[in-house]
């Protein structure tokens, strides 16, 4: 089955893609670029990097910009999926949804309306196990955004390693956060993975942090040999 991956460039959609690739043919990535920083569905600090990630995986990218207003962004997502159906003959969608019934049900609804299969290979996965799988599958994901206490600026730009997983798991046990950031506490950007033909090298970045939230913004990056 030809599949399109709803791709944010983060660890979850990358892991979901890797799992789907074992069973189906991935024919494109689909990305929604939201201008709304509060977007429930699509906010990711380094969403622009999906262009490089698509090149790194030799996959076409279908991207659509949205103002990120609550229901209008779903219409924009639907438009992108329709384009993916036309251009890349997709019969199904992959998402990296783990726990959010808000996100999952809306994407299920769109797939139902368009007659597509919907696969969520990380659905209900234990979040610490998920992080450990990111490490064991050699997905190089850096923390591109933190949006909850006690995650401070020291986390920004750090790689998800075994030590980082232990740290996040410990924080999750004492604070009300999801260790893998399913509630939007952490956003990640994948720089390299076994499915990449080339890896991403950050040339220039800036860090901003204020009032318990911050971003590691990649300003310039390029593909280099792995």
């Amino acid at each position: 089955m030809n599949i399109g991956v709803l791709y944010s460039g983060g660890k979850d959609s990358t892991l979901a893609l890797m799992k789907a690739k074992q069973h189906h043919k991935i024919t494109c990535l689909i990305t929604v670029i939201s201008e709304n920083k509060e977007s429930f569905m699509f906010h990711t600090p380094n969403i622009d990097i999906t262009q490089l990630q698509a090149k790194a995986m030799s996959l076409p990218l279908v991207s659509v910009a949205t103002k990120g207003e609550k229901e209008a962004e779903l219409t924009d997502l639907k438009k992108a999926i329709v384009e993916a159906i036309k251009k890349h003959k997709i019969k199904g969608i992959i998402t990296g949804a783990v726990k959010s019934t808000y996100q999952a049900s809306r994407i299920q609804q769109i797939c139902h309306e368009l007659g597509l299969w919907c696969f969520n290979p990380l659905w209900l996965k234990n979040q610490v196990e998920l992080l450990n799988e990111i490490v064991s599958k050699k997905i190089n994901a850096l923390i591109g955004g933190v949006f909850a206490e006690p995650l401070d600026k020291s986390y920004l730009g750090k790689k998800i390693t075994k030590t980082m997983v232990e740290k996040l798991a410990a924080i999750a046990s004492t604070h009300h956060i999801n260790p893998a950031g399913e509630g939007g506490e952490i956003e990640t950007t994948v720089l390299d993975a076994p499915i990449f033909n080339k890896k991403i090298k950050i040339v220039k970045h800036e860090t901003a942090y204020e009032k318990n939230s911050g971003v590691f913004k990649i300003l310039n990056a390029k593909l280099v040999n792995r």
């Binding site: 799992k19 069973h23 299920q108 609804q109 139902h112 299969w117 696969f119 290979p121 209900l124």
Partner: protein, 171 residues
């Protein structure tokens, strides 16, 4: 041992609809519905028939006639409930229901009580002569065979109602 039977046509869907249930239940035997043997049924203490992807209807083409002779408790979730309904001659009606909805238990039972929210993901359902145990938006969402311990649950308890699955496993 609890036997968990996958109804998924696509292997990839099992990560979403089968493994989460197995994680909640713990020690169990997993089988795809096309590979279930008489020995599997005979050695099971309880059986769970899982749900599957919204686009998947392959399970409705298959034979589950063993359900009519089984003497142990069975719980069908979503597609699993549709299979039970079909085997017991209940007509399935088209009804799309996607998302989180309130559920109210109407009849005392060993799986769930009171009111709670649950995650729905289905396009068909049916009640027939089964007892309605719970309703959501005036429609049956949990049913039970009139005399046997055969339950159907059209919502997905593995998402927001793990206790229901544990109650089935323990009680």
């Amino acid at each position: 041992m609890i036997l968990i039977i996958s109804t998924c046509k696509e292997k990839l869907s099992e990560l979403e609809f089968v493994l989460p249930i197995a994680r909640i239940i713990g020690k169990c035997v997993l089988r795809h519905h096309t590979e279930v043997t008489d020995r599997d049924i005979a050695s099971a203490k309880k059986i769970i028939l899982t749900g599957t992807a919204l686009k998947d209807f392959e399970y409705l083409k298959h034979d589950f006639r063993w359900l009519k002779n089984v003497k142990i408790p069975v719980l069908g979730i979503c597609a699993g409930m549709q299979i039970i309904a079909k085997e017991f001659g209940i007509k399935l009606e088209n009804k799309v229901n996607i998302g989180v909805k309130p559920v109210q238990v109407m009849e005392e039972n060993k799986l769930a009580s009171g009111t709670f929210n649950a995650y729905f993901l289905h396009t068909k359902t049916g009640t027939g002569n089964f007892k309605t145990l719970a309703v959501s938006e005036n429609t049956s969402c949990m049913i039970k065979h009139p005399t046997k311990e055969i339950y159907g649950c059209i919502f997905h308890p593995e998402v927001m109602n793990e206790e229901l699955l544990r109650n089935f496993a323990i009680r």
